[in-house]
């Protein structure tokens, strides 16, 4: 159900009893010991989760979280405090705690916020979940359960879940920022176990985004995700050992874009580069990938899991070119890094919740299309790995080494995709790996909407994508020949 879009800021005034005057008082208190900048981040999140397991609806939960984080920045120093009690006493006390970071005369505060409208509207504005919707969500997971079981008698266990949340935020800052957003997020997930006489395997699939329930009625139906999970599990029953060693690797379109997220994305977050702790520090303008590679971070894609109308510092998100034709172009920056480095603010300041200090983060990170036909890419490989789905990845920012773990992969033998192989971890070096990209397909796809990125203990939803890509060498961590 979609209701007319109210100003997201009004929720905090009308429902939570806040006022602009109180916010100004808090900012005044926050800058009472000096400091260059202060902001208030109000957040209200309601979430629902339903789970079916062994064809029984075994779990249903709802949560409410409300609070405010107050930040004071003084030079390179940040003071932070939060409260889950929005009374004026508690807010002022949190402001005083955050203010302890600075030591100087009180800062004169500007008066009046800059009232800005949301720069764009990338997703529907929904209200709180009602009973009719709960029944519909229940139907989604029941359909997923039925479809997975119907796929093959070897599917022995099915679990499906539907989780969604509505996150309302308001940012009021000493630089006059006064902006809000209402961010829906939904996700359907299916997990299955398959079993035959000799082996057991698992399969998972899922997707969603900043969407309403009708998203799951079209091609991204519960049946689609259920069949995908079941297909993967059945396929794995017959998988042979993955090969070990350096070889040619072809990555399929979509979720394998997690390669970009790990290999380059994190290394280009401005905080690491400001501190000189990233393997990419000082490489702007240099060749870090093959000339066929162009990578962007784009927070503006409608309905995408990684998209946001504004970041958690109240800045509009944007499309940022990270690598253009192999040349490193820019960093992802928030207010702090942008001010200290004198580089553009890319609207990348994100945080997990009001408990956390914002930092530069990715949104949807993907590689643009090339000219190659996907089938030609496969044909060009004599012996290698074709990896089409991944579990997740990790990177050591400082030495650039990254891994990502394939959950669905095949051998390529004499230009043909042959046998499925067991899961294997691929490992490479961020500033080097993309130099070995020799072919880029014309079939760019984004993932289904399942990505969650962790950095310094904070999780945020993200997206990744890429076309079919060939890397001339990469180390594959299997056990086979």
């Amino acid at each position: 159900m979609t209701i007319p879009a109210p100003d997201p800021k009004r929720y905090f005034i009308e429902k939570l009893g806040l006022s602009e005057r109180l916010m100004e008082r808090c900012l005044g208190e926050a800058l009472s010991a000096g400091g260059d900048y202060a902001d208030l981040y109000f957040e209200s999140v309601t979430s629902t989760s339903l789970g079916i397991d062994e064809s029984l609806v075994k779990s249903a939960s709802q949560g409410i979280s409300v609070g405010c984080g107050i930040r004071v920045v003084s030079g390179e120093r940040t003071g932070y405090a939060y409260t889950d009690d929005l009374s004026s006493d508690r807010l002022l006390r949190a402001a005083r705690t955050a203010a302890l970071i600075a030591s100087g005369p009180a800062k004169e505060l500007m008066s009046g916020f800059r009232h800005t409208e949301a720069p764009q509207s990338l997703y529907p504005v929904t209200g709180a979940t009602n009973d009719a919707e709960i029944a519909e969500k229940l139907k989604l997971i029941q359909r997923a359960d039925a479809a997975a079981r119907a796929f093959d008698p070897r599917i022995t266990q099915v679990r499906a879940s539907f989780s969604d949340e509505l996150r309302r935020i308001l940012v009021a800052a000493s630089d006059g920022t006064y902006a809000g957003d209402t961010q829906p997020l939904a996700r359907l997930n299916v997990f299955v176990i398959a079993k035959d006489a000799t082996s057991t395997s698992r399969g998972t699939s899922g997707g969603g985004g900043r969407v309403t329930l009708d998203f799951f009625e079209a091609d991204k139906s519960p049946e689609h995700f259920a069949r995908e999970a079941a297909r993967t599990a059945i396929l794995q029953l017959g998988a042979v050992d993955a090969p070990a060693g350096e070889m040619e690797v072809v990555l399929g379109p979509g979720w394998p874009g997690v390669l970009l997220h790990e290999a380059v994305g994190h290394g280009l977050e401005a905080d690491f580069n400001r501190k000189g702790t990233s393997a990419f520090a000082g490489l702007i303008g240099q060749q870090v990938a093959s000339s066929k590679v162009t990578v962007v971070d784009n927070g503006l894609m409608p309905n995408r899991r990684g998209s946001i109308n504004m970041d958690d510092e109240g800045n509009p998100t944007q499309e940022t070119v990270l690598i253009e034709n192999g040349i490193l172009k820019g960093y992802l920056s928030d207010k702090l890094s942008s001010r200290l480095m004198g580089t553009p603010n890319t609207g990348s300041g994100r945080r997990e919740s009001y408990h956390h200090i914002p930092m530069p983060r990715m949104t949807n990170t993907y590689m643009l299309n090339g000219d190659d036909m996907p089938e030609d890419i496969i044909k060009s490989v004599k012996r290698g790995l074709y990896a089409v789905n991944f579990g997740g990845g990790q990177v050591d920012i400082t030495n650039g080494k990254f891994v990502f773990s394939a959950s669905e992969a095949y051998l390529i033998e004499d230009g043909k995709v042959t046998r499925p192989v067991k899961g294997a971890t691929l490992i490479g070096n961020g500033p080097e790996a993309l130099k070995y990209v020799s072919m880029v397909g014309n079939d760019l796809a984004l993932d289904e909407g399942i990505g969650t990125c962790g950095k310094a203990g904070q999780s945020v939803p993200v997206g990744v994508g890429m076309p079919t890509v060939k890397l001339d060498r990469m180390t594959v961590g299997g056990t086979g020949q």
Binding site: K195, T277, I427
Partner: protein, 466 residues
């Protein structure tokens, strides 16, 4: 020093839990369980000698799980207003009505409830009493010691100091009420070394405890962080090969941690674990005994201190206990909560974990591999050509099949000595084989967290590299 004595707010929190329960029962629940949590946190990060971030806050939340017969649902909130508590109760009861009857669902039997008596030494007031300036000074000293250790240490991710205290109350409609407070403090340094070509390596080291009295010297921790960073410098790839793999204690505890996950009732009843149907069978070598113990109280320099995995009761109000999971290689026990135990026709092992919302999961107490006789030097000394693993990366562990493939870095062993650093390589095998091929278990068991394992050597794994 340590106290179980409830803080001033305890009565308020208990009052809230009991009100929530009463309201739930009045709204139609046949059983209910409330958890109330309150916590404080402090963190300071010092980088290159300057305070970079300071964070200090408190938070609280309430969670409710209700049953209507054998249907169940849960809700949680960080808002304690009357209106919000009303929504919490109303929401849970409404949601429960749409879930399925599950014959295995329900609170534990009243006869099973209990709490470890006496002081488990989980809470030390000194963690809250230490002035912020002293904490910042420890972080600064730790980083400074790392930076001063060697001229190649030229940058830093910083030195930090964190504290956290929490107070938890669990109460249910079958008569269980329990509460405990816990404290934590810790600091670390993350130095960065730079070589002549500009190549960088980073590592870190830390000290943590429940009391400030038992924290290690900031200088020693800083020096250890520097040593761990410097030993990674100039790392190279090795060729793809099969060779013995020695796991340092930090990494061994992850390998052994997978034993706990594989023994969880949830995956056992689904027939989705490498240990399914293996109770009483050999799953590891004779030298492998793995224990989960939620009751441990250590003696550290004469100070009694509860383990990081110690608590008086589990997430459902059952007393924690000691469970031998693997005894000399034989799988002896699964680890279960009430639901998974009922599914298996067994009794809970007191391993229920409870978040604010959702059904209880399974969680470990203090989980460890019993140490062997060999020193780490002897374990490495017996290897002519092999790998000593100090870091793992990735998510390539599949507990359904046992397939294991992870990115690693560490040191190459030549003729029994650590010869040179290696990186950008993977190790792969299958956990079922790996547990049977642990040919050496070290005597260096040290609890630095809730789980611990000594140095291990595993034969037969594949190392993939250049």
């Amino acid at each position: 020093m340590s106290q179980l004595a409830p803080s001033i707010v305890s009565s308020d929190l208990k009052q809230l839990a009991s009100e929530v329960l009463a309201k739930a029962m009045k709204a139609g629940a046949t059983d209910a369980e409330a958890v109330v949590y309150e916590g404080d946190e402090f963190s300071a990060l010092v980088r290159l000698g300057q305070v970079e971030t300071l964070k200090e806050s408190g938070s609280r939340a309430v969670g409710l799980r209700v049953f209507i017969g054998q249907r169940t649902a849960s809700t949680s909130s960080s808002d304690f207003s009357n209106e919000s508590i009303h929504r919490l109760v109303d929401g849970a009861v409404t949601l429960a009505k749409i879930t399925s009857e599950d014959p295995f669902a329900g609170l534990p039997d009243a006869s099973e409830f209990g709490s470890i008596p006496g002081d488990l030494n989980l809470y030390f007031e000194d963690v809250n009493e230490q002035p912020p300036a002293e904490r910042i000074e420890i972080a600064r000293r730790c980083e400074a010691a790392a930076m001063a250790f060697d001229t190649r240490i030229q940058n830093s991710g910083g030195g930090d100091f964190d504290t956290a205290t929490s107070h938890k109350i669990l109460m249910n409609s079958r008569g269980f009420t329990g509460e405990y407070q816990r404290s934590y403090c810790g600091f670390s340094a993350a130095p960065i070394a730079v070589d002549e070509k500009g190549g960088m390596q980073r590592n870190y080291w830390y000290s943590s405890s429940r009391t400030t009295r038992l924290l290690e010297s900031p200088e020693e921790v800083g020096h250890e962080a520097a040593r761990r960073t410097l030993r990674r410098m100039g790392a190279q790839q090795v060729k793809t090969q099969k060779a013995p793999v020695v796991f340092s204690p930090e990494i061994a505890r992850g390998i052994i941690g997978n034993i706990f996950s594989a023994a969880e009732g949830d995956s056992i009843y689904r027939n989705a674990s490498i240990f399914s149907g293996q109770l009483g069978e050999r799953v590891a070598g004779e030298n492998i005994t793995v224990i989960d113990d939620g009751t441990m109280v250590f003696d550290r320099n004469g100070v009694a201190i509860g383990g990081f995995g110690t608590s008086p009761f589990d997430g459902e109000g059952l007393p924690t206990r000691r469970t031998v999971i693997v005894d000399h290689g034989i799988l002896k026990n699964y680890v279960m909560n009430t639901y998974t135990a009922r599914k298996l026709g067994m009794k809970s092992s007191g391993n229920a974990s409870r978040g604010l919302a959702g059904n209880p999961g399974t969680g470990a107490g203090n989980f460890f591999l019993e140490p062997g006789e060999l020193t780490p030097e002897q374990i490495i000394g017996d290897v002519k050509n092999g790998l000593y693993v100090t870091e793992v990366m990735g998510m390539g562990v599949n507990l359904v099949t046992g397939d294991y493939s992870q990115g690693v870095s560490g040191l190459w062993i030549e003729n029994g000595e650590l010869a040179y650093p290696v990186e950008e390589i993977t190790i792969a095998g299958n956990l079922k084989d790996m547990y049977k091929n642990i040919v050496a278990v070290g005597n260096d068991l040290v609890f630095r967290g809730a789980s611990a394992a000594p140095t291990l050597r595993v034969e037969g794994m594949t190392i993939a590299g250049a």
